[in-house]
Symmetry: C2
């Protein structure tokens, strides 16, 4: 009996071998497409089905690629040749909301925004806010330790996870973490699994923190600077003044040009956006207005052409500029969204490096940064080519060469390859450069403790065969 | 050549075999005293010396107990028979403070308060605030993932650690984490080492977050309730109103009686403290006064006899009541400070369980809780006994029996054995009850990845031989 037969015999209709289903399971939002074809797609709706799947996979030594909504940007959940793709999108129940304890218990397939909608009547929220929050799952957020726009003020996903229920490679169930706010019994496996990209186990349940949602109206500031260096310096001054806006985004001139072209001049909130760099701030909570006024003074002193908006509508118009970044680039071609992070004080230098790499390679690299935390998203746009061969790589070698320079520059500035997207398949070849050989070797051994056969998402994070 | 000769030959004067030094290295602030006598005390002042020590320890298979200021409360850093005690108290340099990046780089022996004093002129702080902060080291705070009074608002130590430099059992150096705010490259080893109690490696350097220190005057509220149940209900109402005081401490009647006896009635801030339970709140930041007034209304509605103080002096008087808890108990005997944590909503039930256990066993258990996060410290007082045999155990069996009931009650309420002190030696026998066999086994395997010979703090967290 083959693994497929066993899956079908034990799990029935939730096992699909439909070519359309399998093809769709090979891609994520990075545009990456895994080679070959998965063996099957298992659409689990219970932890028991996940356990059965893993037990069979272990028995037959078949790789398992766990998948939520497929919104990843690093190729970390793309069904590889001969693998079982285990979709948890159907495990989407909110099991418990406990306002007294400011926590919720969810299945992994719950959409981030759906949890937030359910929490809103209680005055609570789940703070992690990846740009994909309307479509990405909590399980995926946890598996990648997702960031977002609000992290400098509200933390990353790791800080929001109290406990996990996980299915291990052999199908056994493992509970980790605690429902209490504090707990230090044993090693912090919950943190170890957060960001482990499907390589240690399959998250089938999560207890997450749901603290008080900030109240009151937000204030929003849009500021135009002559160049990216002065915008970066201004954002550093905001941090130095110990202000902590909820959002602080920096768009470089090439990003701005793309957006202006896409939205049209009438939708640029009246800002002189044909040139220069754009800094977008949003303050929230009871002191939103006071903080925004303090920020406004600093931005103007730093040479910014800055406007404060306290009404919802014009604030939304400013945010719409930032949100148009990806659609504007996607209209021009395939987009490889990079994700380096550097210490805040090195952000201006990183922008300089990007400009230098762009000039040297002739590749334009429109960049947006979460300026509050030094996380930059340099974008590589690969123009659509109707004559492109079907088996041509998504990202041409000269783009990878530019990306390679960019990663090395980030590391040299004391930064990291990936601030929030994860290593996935796309950055695996640089992993050892950041970790060093000792850490790389130890991390592979840690994986082997949980997954001795190496069936969980092989090829993700670490190279498949070593 | 013996291990001791090699240590002396390679490290010279930093190796002590003075019986006084060795005896002092056997105890911590829990009162626990390890059996037998350590082989040597190595007072390292550099990472290189730590590497040398570990290399020799590995070669000879000698256990290493790493120690900071010895302020632990779980017997986790007590020099065991024949071990090398590796003191990092002398590695106490603050290497770097980077206000732009809101981070500091420190050696592990830096005292928590000393770092905070150095950060104050920059308007920054290191938020973890164990009660021992005036005397405990950052390395020890990290090794135990220390909590404190402010955690519900400002997080535990794990949230404050960006990167670590660690010496592994074989003497090799390992860097983990990042200087950037975000970073998701590989597994989160930094979180794994935080709270690992010296069992995975020796922390020789830490890069910690130093965010903006809250500004302005604090407001303090003292409130007396008829009983602990109504005080716990009132604290739940504060949380339910989405207020987040920096401090919210709850003292039960038996704790209050001990403190009143110790301080005398004139030092009880004019509060009717012969009976009932005491709730102490402190709000901070720019909205301190507004939040305190909202809290005051809630506490009074909940039946509390509550007073708000906004001047520093009377606020200090209220805090002094809380601070007198340990000295008041220590005046009566040896104190075993327990440390269970439960979901906030179960705190009142946990107090009931403690009362029940106290009644059944005839042992009084004065208890204070960090009520904002559900972390309770039930205290067992063992009266001084001049006739006690020198080799009698610190904690008599009937006290352990009561503690055993207490731990099981906490676990049954969805809580944990230890909220912030760690497992150490004292709670090791309950570890498997909380973790379960699967997790227990996996955690031992994780340790083996970093410490294959099992020389790092054997007997701490896990039982020594298994």
């Amino acid at each position: 009996m083959t693994a497929l037969h066993r899956l079908q015999a034990e799990l029935g209709a939730i096992v699909s071998v439909d070519p359309g289903d399998l093809a769709a399971a090979r891609i994520d939002k990075s545009g990456w497409q895994a080679f070959g074809m998965p063996l099957a797609l298992v659409a689990a709706t219970s932890a028991l089905q996940v356990q059965t799947t893993l037990r069979i996979a272990s028995e037959f030594g078949v790789p398992v690629v766990t998948r939520g909504a497929g919104t990843g940007l690093a190729g970390g959940a793309c069904g590889t040749d001969g693998s079982i793709v285990l979709s948890l999108a159907g495990m989407n129940r909110i099991l418990e909301i406990r306002p007294q304890d400011e926590l919720a218990v969810v299945e992994p397939g719950v959409i981030n925004q759906d949890l937030n909608d359910a929490l809103a009547p209680h005055g609570l929220w789940f703070a992690p806010d990846p740009a994909s929050k309307a479509i990405s799952t909590i399980g995926g957020n946890i598996a990648t330790n997702a960031g977002g726009l609000l992290c400098a003020k509200y933390g990353v996903t790791r800080e929001a996870v109290l406990a996990l229920t996980v299915v291990l490679a052999d199908g056994s169930l493992l509970e980790m973490g605690h429902r209490s706010v504090k707990g230090v019994t044993g090693y912090d496996l919950t943190a170890l699994f957060t960001g482990s990209e499907g390589t240690l186990g399959v998250i089938v349940g999560a207890t997450v923190r749901t603290p008080a949602r900030p109240t009151g109206a937000v204030s929003t500031i849009g500021a135009v600077f002559a160049d990216v260096a002065s915008a970066a310096a201004a954002s550093a001054s905001i941090t130095a003044a110990r202000l902590r806006p909820a959002v602080m985004e920096l768009l470089d001139p090439s990003a701005l040009r793309a957006i202006a072209g896409y939205l049209g001049p009438d939708n640029m909130a009246g800002l002189p956006l044909g040139h220069g760099a754009f800094l977008l701030l949003q303050t929230d909570g009871p002191l939103a207005r006071v903080e925004a006024e303090a920020a406004l003074r600093i931005l103007r002193e730093a040479g910014g052409d800055a406007e404060l908006s306290t009404d919802r509508e014009s604030g939304e118009q400013l945010l719409a500029i930032r949100r148009a970044m990806h659609p504007a680039l996607a209209a021009q071609g395939e987009v490889l969204i990079e994700d380096v992070s550097v210490p805040r004080s090195r952000m201006a230098e990183m922008f300089e490096e990007i400009a230098r790499i762009s000039e040297r390679t002739g590749v334009t690299i429109p960049t947006v940064a979460h300026a509050g935390d030094g996380n930059l998203h340099p974008n590589f746009v690969i123009p659509f080519d109707p004559d492109k061969a079907a088996d041509a790589p998504l990202v041409p070698e000269h783009i990878w060469a530019a990306a390679d320079e960019l990663f090395r520059a980030a590391l040299a500035l004391g930064g990291t390859l990936t601030g929030e997207h994860g290593v996935g398949v796309l950055k695996q070849r640089w992993l050892i450069d950041e970790l060093g050989e000792t850490s790389f070797g130890l991390q592979r051994q840690l994986k082997a403790v949980f997954d001795p056969q190496g069936i969980l998402n092989p090829g993700v994070m670490f190279a498949a065969a070593k």
